[in-house]
């Protein structure tokens, strides 16, 4: 095998690995934001894995990009790694890859500096993740024919399904979640319900109004009514 072919295989392989890793990162990120848990693992594992996987994905993408540029078979300028559509070879699809890579850099940089830039800025930038992943998938499908046949096609479909499922879960809970204005009312309804259940299990009817007129004390004392 020539070195060119080795580089080409390395680029394709790390590309596929990066795609899978990115899928895992997105699904873990959505799980963390919904306060979900991975079965059998503590909660901090979700955020920890999310972070570690994203760094691992960057490592794989770095190798993917370097090997693709170094491969003499096709001409891809160094600048094309970060500047979209700057590559002479397949400018559109590689451009999408560059866009995705830029976004990943932004996501990770802001996450590392999270304490310094503040919550709101960090959150605003992190929404990019929902754009970043589809762009990466488009880049993968368009840049080479690998993912269009065989088990790599199945892999791609699984990744898409996983992210779609997680995203629809996210959207679903966001739509049905009570806004801040409804939270106290909902908590009150739940609390009153559980009190009513306790009342009924204590073998008494839940009174609708207080004081219950059936239970008046015999003498109507007016002075210091009921105080010590």
């Amino acid at each position: 095998m020539t070195s060119s072919t080795a580089l080409w295989y390395a680029s394709r392989a790390t590309g596929v690995a990066a795609l899978v890793l990115l899928t895992v990162v997105v699904v873990l990120g959505i799980t963390a934001s919904r306060r979900g848990r991975l079965p059998g693992l503590p909660r901090f594992a979700t955020t920890s894995l999310h972070r570690s996987m994203s760094l691992l994905a960057v490592a794989f993408i770095a190798i993917h990009v370097v090997t693709a540029i170094a491969d003499p078979y096709v001409t891809i300028g160094i600048a094309a790694a970060v500047i979209p559509f700057a590559s002479p070879y397949k400018p559109l699809w590689l451009g999408l890859g560059a866009i995705s890579f830029d976004m990943i850099v932004a996501l990770i940089a802001t996450s590392l500096a999270r304490a310094r830039i503040g919550r709101r800025t960090w959150r605003a930038v992190h929404w990019l993740a929902y754009a970043c992943w589809p762009v990466a998938v488009l880049h993968s499908i368009g840049s080479s024919t690998d993912l269009r046949t065989g088990w790599l096609l199945i892999l791609t479909i699984c990744c898409c399904a996983a992210v779609l499922a997680a995203a629809s879960w996210r959207i679903g809970t966001a739509i049905t979640a009570p806004g801040r204005a409804q939270r106290p009312a909902r908590a009150l309804a739940a609390a009153e319900l559980s009190t009513a259940i306790e009342l009924s299990t204590a073998d008494r009817d839940a009174a609708d109004q207080w004081p219950d007129p059936r239970y008046r004390s015999g003498d109507h004392r007016l002075t210091g009514a009921g105080t010590r």
Binding site: P42, R43, F44, T47, R114, R119
Partner: protein, 100 residues
């Protein structure tokens, strides 16, 4: 002589009850029945837990934990730290019962 104590503080508005902090720092943080963190004591972080505390702070998905340094001298109503007063309820049975 005033020392500085480092205290953990929860930003209650940002906190959305993820519970990651309680797993990483169970010595100082427990969760109440609704999933929100309760700090042990006044949240003072002993030196041997500083590393775990910093990890809890960076790992909080909502960035709701922070460290503050407070001078160890008892703070009265100086400056604008206290923006409202709470009445003392010494010795009344109700206060003792409610622990406020």
């Amino acid at each position: 002589m005033s020392e500085e104590t480092t205290r953990l503080q929860v930003n209650p508005i940002a906190c959305s009850g993820h519970g990651v902090c309680a797993e990483l720092l169970p010595e100082l943080i427990t969760l109440d029945e609704w999933g929100y963190p309760v700090l042990a004591g006044d949240g003072t972080v002993p030196l041997w837990l500083m590393r775990e505390a910093r990890r809890a702070i960076t790992d909080c998905p909502a960035l709701a934990l922070r460290l503050t340094s407070v001078p160890a001298v008892a703070s009265g109503r100086g400056g604008l730290r206290e923006s409202s007063e709470e009445p003392q309820r010494p010795g009344r049975a109700g206060a003792a019962k409610l622990g406020t």
